[in-house]
Every structure is written in C-alpha cells, then in structure tokens.
C-alpha cells in the first residue's frame, strides 16, 4: 500500500477545488482584464475568489494580491517592501529559501533560533533599529512545524524598528492555525494554494492597509500594478475553494490529524531504539508535523527504503540536481551535521488515514534495522 506522508511538500487537491476550477479551464476562459461579457464573467470569478480569500485570511479584499505561489509572494514581500542597503532586511535563520535568499539578495541578516526552532527575541531586538525596512518571520516552520511567537515579534518590531514592516510566511500554517487571527499583527502575509488542497502555481500576498509595495514584475495594471500579468483565473478560483474548505474544516482536521500524528510519533519512538522527535516536547508545533531524528541512519537511504515500501516522506531540501542538501533549519536549531543527515519528516494531511499510519508503523522498524545492520 502507499502512505503519502509528505503533505508539507504538497497536498492532494481537494475535490471542491478541482470542481470549482473546471469551468474556468473550459467555457469561462475569458481574460478578466477585458471589457466584454466573456471577460466580465472571468472577472466576477476573480472578485468572488478575492472576497473568499480575504474572509479566510482576515483582511480586506483590496489587500489580497494574487501571485504564482509562496515563492513569489515571499519575494514580492521582501523585495517590494525594502530598499537595498545594509541592515534594511532581517529574517529568522529558519525561513524558507524564498525568504532567506530574497533577504540575502538585499544584503539582509538573519536572527538565530533556539533548539526548537523558535526565534531568539533578544537577538532580534539587538538587530532592530530605524534602518530596518522589513522583518520576515514565518508563522509555522515548513520543515519541523514549530510555531513562531508572531505577536511578540510584532511588539518588538513596533517598539524598536518604527519604520519596519512585518512580513510573515504563513504557507505552512494555513489549514492548521487560525491564520486570520494570528496574522493581524503582520503587514504582509504569504500563502500558497497547493499546501492546503489547491492547485500548484497560485498563491497570494496580503498587503495590509495602504502598505506601499514596489512590484517585482513590471507589466500591466493587474492587482493594482502590484503584480502584473494575466490572472490564472482557474487557479485563483481553485485556491479560494480550497481555502474555504480548509478554513471551515480546520478545527476538526487538527483534532483528527493531531491524534494520528501523536500515534505515529509515539509508535515509532517506542518500537525503534534511538528515534526521537526533533522538536522538543512542549514546544508549540502544528498538528501535522512528525519530524524525527533516527540515530545511526542516513536519511537518503531511509527515504529510498521507505519509498520501496510505499511510504512517501522527505528530508531537507533538494538542490538543483535533486540531491538532498543538509537542512539549514536543523543546523540553525543546533543539530549536529550527523543528526541533521539522520532526520526524516513525515507530514500528515487532511486525508491521511489510520491505515497509512499503521503501514508506516509496521514497515519502519524493519527498514531501520536493515540500515543499521
């Protein structure tokens, strides 16, 4: 059987999302920037999707900028809300590469994290001053699932860096956290549709009230000039549908998936020696993430044998060649390079079943035993 436990990489599409998209890939093919009836039909869909996304993310419809996904949203936030120069951009050391590398392109600096991946507020405070244009701290870490204390971050930023705007990459949080409530403290919020049951290649950036944003792409007047380019109508409609379902079903999903995650983590750490959760017990974490260090095992080998058994998991990030690179997140958390190469991520989703968990629990001990032999 197959156990797909890589929902942090991408999720299967929710049926509601796919169904909502199909008309805009077929009869309603119009370009919403036109003026005739076919165009207007597509524009209505964009407007309705914008309303839905705004409702779910807790912002005004005019504050939603549709993008091509999380990477573009993060780049638009970091590059669009900062000017080049030393000390203008600050982000946590465990950000997704979309933020980290955009920050680096601005000559920005990173803030260290603790053993659980939580940002070091004292260290951040020391780096904040009135030169800072933008601070970027993710709501939930995509690799290990740690939740960042965004309200504390925001309070510090407002106090010490009066000019700075706060961006949060909420890509890994949607469907698991109350993003609308938690991100009211942020000026800019990134989300990506395929992480919550929508299609790949579409996302959004929330740009709160009057926040000026320089476009990264130059072109037409779409998205009020903040993001030119013909709208991906079907994608946007699909994202809105998925976001509605994910938001409305959130409490139930978190309860259901959290129970399964706990069973997986407890089962693996009791049935196999020297298996421990990467994020220490008690740290705030999303319900979907089961990130483990499997002592004495190389993650590349573990993933191959799990794949042979039908288990889809992941580790680290892939480089251009497809090889797994040591995780910058784990190294920033202070894991040794050896432990970082022994880590594996199981990420559950709304559709994860008990059978899938049972399958992993049954195959993992023998796989690990073989690799340790």
């Amino acid at each position: 059987m197959q156990a797909y436990l890589d929902h942090a990489a991408t999720t299967p599409m929710r049926p509601e999302s796919l169904a909502a998209m199909v008309p805009y890939l077929t009869e309603h093919f119009g370009n919403p920037s036109g003026s005739h009836s076919v165009a207007r039909r597509a524009l209505v869909a964009i407007d309705e999707a914008r309303d839905e996304v705004a409702r779910c993310l807790g912002c005004e419809p005019g504050e939603v900028v549709f993008t091509s996904g999380g990477t573009e949203s993060d780049n638009l936030a970091v590059l669009g809300a900062s000017s080049p120069g030393p000390g203008t951009v600050l982000c946590s050391a465990v950000e997704h590469h979309a933020v980290l590398n955009a920050c680096d392109a601005r000559g920005g600096t990173t803030v260290p994290v603790d053993r659980s991946g939580v940002i070091d507020l004292d260290a951040m405070g020391e780096q904040l001053d009135d030169r800072v244009d933008l601070v970027s701290v993710m709501l939930v870490n995509n690799e290990v699932g740690t939740v960042q204390p965004l309200a504390d971050v925001a309070a510090l930023v407002r106090a010490l860096a009066p000019r700075a705007r706060l961006h949060t990459d909420a890509v890994a949080a949607v469907g698991w956290m109350d993003v609308a409530a938690l991100t009211t403290v942020a000026d800019l919020v990134s989300v990506s549709a395929h992480k919550f049951g929508g299609p790949k290649g579409v996302g959004a950036l929330v740009v709160r009230g009057g926040s000026r944003l320089d476009p990264v792409l130059h072109g037409g007047a779409q998205e009020r000039g903040r993001r030119p380019g013909t709208h991906d109508v079907a994608g946007i409609v699909g994202m809105a549908a998925a976001l509605r379902v994910a938001t409305d079903a959130r409490d139930d999903t978190v309860r259901r998936v959290g129970t399964r995650r706990d069973r997986l983590a407890a089962g693996l750490s009791t049935s196999i020696e020297d298996v421990r959760e990467t994020v220490v017990h008690g740290a705030a974490k999303v319900a979907s993430s089961c990130h483990l260090v499997v002592g004495g095992v190389d993650q590349e080998e573990l993933l191959v044998l799990l794949d042979d058994e039908g288990v889809c998991a992941s580790a680290g990030a892939a480089c251009a060649s497809g090889a797994i690179e040591p995780s910058h997140v784990l190294l920033a958390m202070g894991l040794s390079p050896v432990d970082a190469k022994s880590a594996v991520r199981f990420s559950l989703g709304y559709a994860t079943t008990d059978d899938e968990i049972d399958h992993v629990l049954s195959v993992m001990p023998k796989v690990v035993e073989r690799l340790r032999a």
């Binding site: 080998e301 480089c319 060649s321 073989r370």
Partner: protein
C-alpha cells in the same frame, strides 16, 4: 538480480543500465552529487544529472540522486590539495573510485538490498570457480582497468561492468539503436571538480598557497628559469616550464616544494628504471618479490615489463619518470590483460648522480 547502476549521465553508464535492464535484471539508477562548486563537467553538473534521470525514465527505471559531497570533499578533494601542496601528482578519479563509488556507494547498495553495483567502466570481470579477475576492456583505446586496479576481490565480487565487452563504437551504436539521448555525448575528459575556465591553478590557488620555484639544471647546477607555482609541476613534465638549455627542451626530474626547487634535465635524463611504491593492493594473491609483471603508470599509457620487488617495480627498459602520487597498475606477466594489483608511486629513481654538483637544499630558496 537487483542491480544499482551508477549513472553519470554519460553514454557508457547509460548503456550499462540498458544492457542490464534488457537482460531482465531489476535495475535502479543512481547519480552521485559529488561536488557543489562551480564546475562545468563531470558527474555533478545539473545537466548530467538530468541526462542520467532522463535515460533512466526512458528505460523505465527508478532513479535516485545521492549526495556524497561531504565524503568527496574529505576523501578526494582534500587529499588532492594536500598532495599538490607536498609536490605530488594525485589521481583524484582513482581516489573517487576507491573511496566513493566502490566504497560508500557499494556499501549503500548492499544496505539498500541490491545484489550488485554496476558502472560504465570499460573493463571486464571474469568469474572462474568463485574467483573474480579484473581484465582490460575489449576496446584497447578505451580500457579503464587502470582506474579500477586498486579494487580487491571482495569489492569486485559485488560489481558488474556491462560495457567492458563492448568497444566504444559498439556502445554508441547500442545507445543510438535504442534512441538514448546520451548516444553522441562527448566523453568526459577532465577532473570533474576543476572548472575548465579557471583550471587546476585557479582551483588550487583558492585552497592553498602556491609558491614560485627555481628551475635548476641537473647537469650544470645552474638556475635556468623559474615557474610561478612549483606545486603545479609534475615530475616528467615538459610543457609549461618555458625553459630550454642549448636549444633542447627540459623535463622536470624532481619537485621539491619545500626548497622551492625543481631540477630539470634532458629527455635522456627523464627516464627511470625503478619506481618506489606504497599503498599496495591486490585483486587476488599478492605478487612475491622477484615475480615478473607488467606495470602501467598512467591511465592511457602502455604497460612495460618489470620485476616486482615488494616495495618497488624495476623496469626491464628505462621508462618515462613516474610522478609521486601516480598509481602503478600491475598486470599478470603471463596474461597481460589481467590486473593483479596496484600501488601508488612515492618516488622514481633518476640516474643523474654521476654528473653535476652535489645537492644542497639550503643553497637555494
């Protein structure tokens, strides 16, 4: 048989995978990421990984990319730099075969449940009565037994070399016949982690100090020139020294990076009869001192008759000097295609003592 094929993205390993798959084996491809630096050739460029993956897809094989960059750095690149710093001439491809491909990857293949590891090397493995012998490939121009000569029988027992029986032309013909995208891809030539635009010098200059050295004529003792980096000079080298004496080109005879001195001599000086070696390994039974053999001292050189002395080979006829650090592959005296073992040269003994002044290392620098 379950076989893991090391696929570099070149035509030989592509055809190796195809041959095994056609024979009905359960084949999985793996490409190694060995190098993270700016490199335009070799196994780790993204284009080569793409080629390997696309060939695997075409053949219907699973394909993995394994990251061995840390081990490659420690076992291949760092020793390569250290050898140059000591005035030796390393062979990083042999170190990679020894420690990575037929070391870590072979171990990994076993842990992942594979019965064998296959590569696209042009050499043949012959199994008789439970013993394995390593032989030259069928195509004499492409034979790669030299770069596998340091493997032992227990390693070779878990290895398959599917293209060793084929000429290069036959490999390409086979690739064309099944429409593999790598059919006409040029052979890789250079060290994979050396970028052709910056060269060996540019690479080493970032990792070690390079020092100028004097060129001292072996017969007269005169300083006849200088080179900007003594660490880049190889014993036996003629090109790039920029020195001629009495209209005759000079060859590097010895490299002393500490004294920053390179002795040079004529082509007649640049031969030796005896090569001292260490790091000896054997495919099967070890040679005994006094045993006869053929020795090959470079990847594309020819083998010459010699006598094994236990810590040296003595050639029947004088041979071009062998730079310290180079592998000496030993072939069977009675069966010149069969590898018996390998060793690494530490010194070539040069018959120049009769002429010229006595050497005094403190005299130069």
């Amino acid at each position: 048989m379950r076989v893991l094929v090391a696929m570099s993205g070149g035509v030989d390993s592509s055809v190796a995978a195809a041959v095994l798959a056609e024979a009905g084996h359960d084949v999985v491809g793996a490409t190694l990421k060995l190098w993270g630096g700016a490199s335009d050739s070799g196994c780790c460029s993204v284009a080569d990984v793409d080629d390997a993956r696309r060939v695997a897809e075409q053949l219907g094989l699973d394909h993995h990319v394994f990251n061995f960059t840390d081990a490659f750095e420690d076992s291949v690149v760092a020793p390569y730099v250290a050898d140059h710093a000591a005035g030796r001439t390393p062979n990083p491809c042999i170190e990679c075969n020894r420690t990575i491909k037929f070391g870590l990857l072979l171990d990994r293949a076993a842990r992942l449940g594979f019965d064998a590891l296959a590569t696209g090397h042009h050499a043949r493995l012959v199994h008789i009565d439970g013993a394995v012998s390593l032989r030259r490939g069928t195509d004499p121009k492409k034979d790669q037994s030299y770069v596998l000569s340091m493997l032992n029988a227990s390693e070779l027992a878990k290895v398959v070399l599917p293209v060793g029986e084929l000429t290069k032309a036959a490999v390409r013909a086979r690739a064309r016949a099944i429409g593999l995208r790598t059919a006409d891809k040029p052979d890789s030539q250079d060290v994979c982690f050396i970028h052709s635009a910056r060269g060996r010098r540019g690479f080493l200059a970032e990792r070690m100090a390079l020092h100028g050295a004097e060129l001292v004529d072996a017969s007269s003792g005169d300083v006849v020139g200088t080179v900007p980096a003594g660490e880049l000079v190889t014993v036996g080298q003629r090109r790039g020294l920029g020195v001629a004496v009495d209209g005759h080109r000079r060859y590097a005879l010895t490299v002393d990076v500490r004294a920053r001195r390179i002795t040079v001599g004529t082509s007649a000086d640049a031969v030796g009869g005896r090569v001292v070696v260490d790091r000896t390994s054997w495919v099967g039974p070890a040679l005994e001192p006094g045993d006869r053999a053929f020795a090959q001292t470079s990847a594309h050189g020819s083998a010459a008759a010699c006598t094994w002395q236990g810590d040296a080979v003595v050639f029947d006829e004088p041979q071009p000097l062998v730079a310290p650090g180079q592998t000496v592959a030993l072939y069977d005296a009675a069966d010149a295609d069969a590898v018996v073992g390998a060793a690494v040269a530490t010194a070539s003994e040069v018959p120049i003592a009769s002429e010229g002044p006595p050497e005094d290392p403190s005299a130069t620098v």
